[in-house]
Symmetry: C2
Subunit: 322 residues, 2 copies
């Protein structure tokens, strides 16, 4: 008797989970990228196209057949930051990478893990070139509509945004940049992006985080998003204040599912929406056959992908992933 065990009929939502995890599920295994080492610890992964450019800066980056290391002679956080920044500005001037066209003059910290000390800071447009772990904050703004049930506010990103212009996105979202805490960032972005008054922000509820590993032509995105839920009164309508949003739209949960599976939705924001729809019971094991696979793909073990053992001791790369 033959046994049918195939996954041939992947659902739309499982396909979406594969899309935002394209690097986790395939690129990572190709073995093309090399660990990026700072002070003996792996903080990223570097693709061959980036390695090629870094070879031009041997006084800053040591490129070996096993890994790429930031010169360990740099004394401290400030020196590491300055040396890398200098290279990045030159590469930007040479138009070496698409990613650097989106230079932001806003920095992300480069750390081994979220709770550990920062080793240097780097313009946020450049972190994807080094596969640096990225942390963001997202707010799911929702309404319990008397007739339509669970409804979700989405924003359409401005057409002038450097990344993902015109794409649909969660109501509020932003990267965690240098000097700002998670809750601070949530409040700041809620006010700037959607003019949510402090009074309503009292109802903000921390609801977990999602992690995934995406890759695009710009680079590598091992992202962790800290997720908040905010129930809004029916009469509240978000208004953009910083010019980064084209418009807001209130969708039913079903319309929201239809929207996130289209190419019009920002791929790296979909995990947050999907997680929301699962946590609130709209997507369940009753209507999604790959439910438990999707839940695992919303929380991939980024903590294990970059090996945290010291590379100083033996100069060896031992990137054992689980």
């Amino acid at each position: 008797m033959s046994v049918d065990i195939g996954d041939s009929s992947m659902s739309r939502l499982l396909k979406l989970a594969h899309k935002f995890n394209c690097f986790y599920l395939s690129g990572l295994k190709s073995g093309e990228c090399r660990p990026f080492i700072v002070e003996g610890f792996q903080v990223g992964l570097i693709r061959p196209d980036v390695m090629k450019q870094l070879l031009r800066y041997p006084e800053v980056f040591r490129v070996t057949s096993q890994y790429v290391e930031l010169n360990p002679a740099f004394r401290d956080y400030e020196e590491r930051t300055a040396k890398v920044d200098h290279v990045l500005r030159e590469l930007r001037g040479n138009h070496a990478f698409i990613a650097l066209k989106g230079w932001r003059d806003e920095c992300y910290e480069v750390k081994v893990k979220f709770h550990t000390e920062s080793l240097l800071r780097m313009d946020r447009s450049a972190t994807c070139l080094f596969g640096i772990r990225n942390y963001g904050v997202d707010i799911n703004g929702y309404v319990r509509h008397p007739k339509l049930g669970l409804c979700i506010w989405l924003q359409q990103r401005s057409s002038t945004k450097q990344t993902w212009p015109d794409k649909w996105d969660n109501m509020v979202g932003g990267g965690l940049s240098v000097g700002h805490s998670i809750l601070e960032t949530a409040h700041k972005e809620a006010m700037e992006e959607a003019s949510i008054p402090t009074e309503l922000l009292k109802n903000l509820i921390s609801a977990g985080c999602v992690s995934f590993y995406f890759e695009s032509e710009r680079g590598l995105f091992p992202n962790t998003e800290f997720v908040f839920d905010l129930e809004l009164p029916l009469e509240f309508i978000p208004q953009n204040a910083d010019g980064e949003v084209q418009k807001f739209e209130l969708l039913t949960a079903q319309q929201c599912v239809e929207r996130i599976v289209t190419p019009d939705f920002k791929t790296t924001s979909a995990p947050v929406t999907l997680d929301f729809l699962i946590r609130h019971g709209f997507i369940s094991a009753e209507n999604e056959p790959y439910y438990n696979l999707i839940m695992e793909l919303l929380h991939v073990p980024l903590q294990n992908i970059y090996n945290n053992q010291s590379f100083k001791e033996n100069g060896q790369v031992n990137n054992s992933n689980i």
Copy 2:
């Protein structure tokens, strides 16, 4: 300048997440266990102590240096089930394993993944001997108390239970046994364990699932728990109906945190409670430094641990884990 990157000061909750993932985080890497193959697919892992016993049944189990295979000559689901059952009953009679002392006359399906066809069924007490994936259902019963805030109902398991007697546990929980769907199991257990009336069960909300890989003296537990939340009215008091519960207690969220970190709480139920406390904002990035690590450890990638490639083709084990 030296850089402090150590994880020496693990929090209580991170320690707990390591405890229920002891096999995922250490046993798995030891390489002592061998894949258990049925019809060419890996469905489990077998420890050396179990392998030793299975060697006595060469007509049922082929034990090689690479894997343990169920005799591929068995024709179908029923034959595979009968042959394995026969061995298990003999091993039970010989008192070969502690796990089999808890024989239940209630079977779990043995599948490659949750959504794939079952290959055989096996008494639920025996699945941990083969590291078979286990699926359960849990209900977080909670109350929004006007003075105490978020409060959670816990149960204390009966002292006569075969597993985890006297331990504290979630209000309602049960394994998914042959012939029952997830929602059906949730309703059945809610009525048997806590006498929750149908009227209140209408408020049951599917809220995701957790996955982890635990090991005890009994065996291996790669578990996925489908999680439901149920807000209860203040005046409702759960009453046990099947003799499997000693008592119920309503705890504040903080008391609940204190309870789950003690040895008095069933280790394999703690992920469900921890996930609940995170999703409802009681544990957040503001009060838990290892928040994002814990979230990943509540959803470990069980889907990747058992390699799903066919073992028939080349007879080779290639257990590439991510």
